[in-house]
């Protein structure tokens, strides 16, 4: 019950080394405070491990308790379709306490994307299938809350602070 069932593919948003020996997959929710905390830790891991670490973020919005998690996820996908996924992703987590529809639209504008197009995409649910696909893949992999991490396909059960995660990643790096 602790294996990642959906392999990392071109459909994923990938950060860090594309051919990293260590692949960290996170299932997260943009309105989840624990995910915001984890985001800071993951950024630190990226700085430390550089190209040796490939990081993948997948959507797992718990929309009944986090009503803004779905529009936020769709806004990130909207930005992603235009090569700006991580910019939107980082902006949302950096300003999570301000998360709102106007915030998402304003962030799109700040990234040079069309506010109107984002509003239309949210209205039409253009990116809803992608978000749902992420979510269901997560459910099938036993994701039961956010954030949930998989390191090289195995569920990471430890605390999601930098020290513990780095210690789990360290032994999997290629020998220098």
């Amino acid at each position: 019950m602790a294996e990642l069932r959906v392999p990392v593919s071109a459909a994923d948003h990938i950060r860090g080394g594309a051919s990293g020996k260590v692949i960290l997959v996170e299932y997260g929710d943009y309105e989840c405070p624990y995910c915001r905390l984890a985001h800071v830790q993951v950024m630190q891991l990226g700085q430390h491990f550089g190209d040796e670490l490939t990081y993948v973020f997948r959507n797992f919005p718990l929309t009944e308790i986090h009503p803004l998690a779905e529009p936020a996820a769709e806004a990130a996908e909207f930005a992603g379709a235009q090569g700006q996924f991580w910019a939107m992703h980082d902006a949302i987590y950096a300003h999570q306490e301000q998360l709102s529809l106007p915030f998402l639209l304003g962030t799109a504008r700040a990234l040079g994307l069309s506010e109107n197009n984002l509003a239309a995409a949210l209205e039409a649910g253009t990116y809803e299938p992608k978000v749902k696909q992420d979510f269901l893949g997560g459910v099938r992999s036993g994701v039961n809350g956010t954030p949930t991490f998989f390191i090289n396909g195995h569920r990471y059960e430890g605390p999601f602070d930098y020290q513990h995660m780095a210690a789990a990643i360290q032994p999997l790096r290629p020998r220098l």
């Binding site: 019950m1 009944e64 459910v139 039961n144």
Partner: protein, 170 residues
């Protein structure tokens, strides 16, 4: 701490309060697969707790025509407040009086702690337990085991030539 009831056993019927003035019986669900999720308590202090995940996975469960039911020893009033706050769209049953009596029948009661185990059962359309699982009390078992069991149940039903009844409804 005993074993939870195993597959092949008839699921003990029960009638429990689902709201302060309504009851629900397992027999009411006969003809559809039922997912029974025993859990220790309402109000666990995390986002994305077990019931929140099932809430979110409801459309998937319904593709199998399956109904999910949460069961704990909390009272119907407590369940009502919990379900309203978390926007839960499935029934929570109160195994409240006599406390834990249904959980005991399923081998899913923790004596001493006085709460239900985290135990999952998939009951088939005829009321027979098809799959059961007890998770460590601190571990939210998620929904993957349930969905895998529903897949196998559906395949078995197809094998039995009951595809028509399986595909109606939902």
């Amino acid at each position: 701490m005993g074993q939870v009831l195993a597959p092949g056993v008839t699921a003990p019927d029960f009638t429990l309060r689902v709201t302060p003035d309504q009851t629900l019986s397992l027999g009411d669900l006969r003809g559809r697969p039922a997912i029974l999720a025993f859990y220790p308590a309402d109000w666990s202090p995390v986002c994305g707790d077990q019931m929140a995940v099932y809430n979110q996975v409801l459309p998937e469960f319904r593709k199998y025509d399956a109904e999910v039911i949460g069961i704990s020893v909390d009272s119907a009033w407590c369940h009502q407040a919990f379900a309203e706050t978390r926007h839960l769209h499935f029934p929570l049953l109160a195994d409240f009086e006599p406390k834990g009596s249904v959980a005991r029948q399923y081998g899913a009661y923790r004596d001493g702690d006085g709460v239900c185990e985290r135990a999952l059962f998939v009951v088939d359309r005829e009321g027979i337990i098809f799959w059961s699982y007890r998770s460590p009390i601190a571990v939210n078992p998620g929904a993957d085991g349930i969905l895998d069991a529903l897949d196998r149940l559906e395949n078995q039903e197809k094998g039995d030539g009951r595809t028509q009844s399986a595909s109606v409804g939902g």
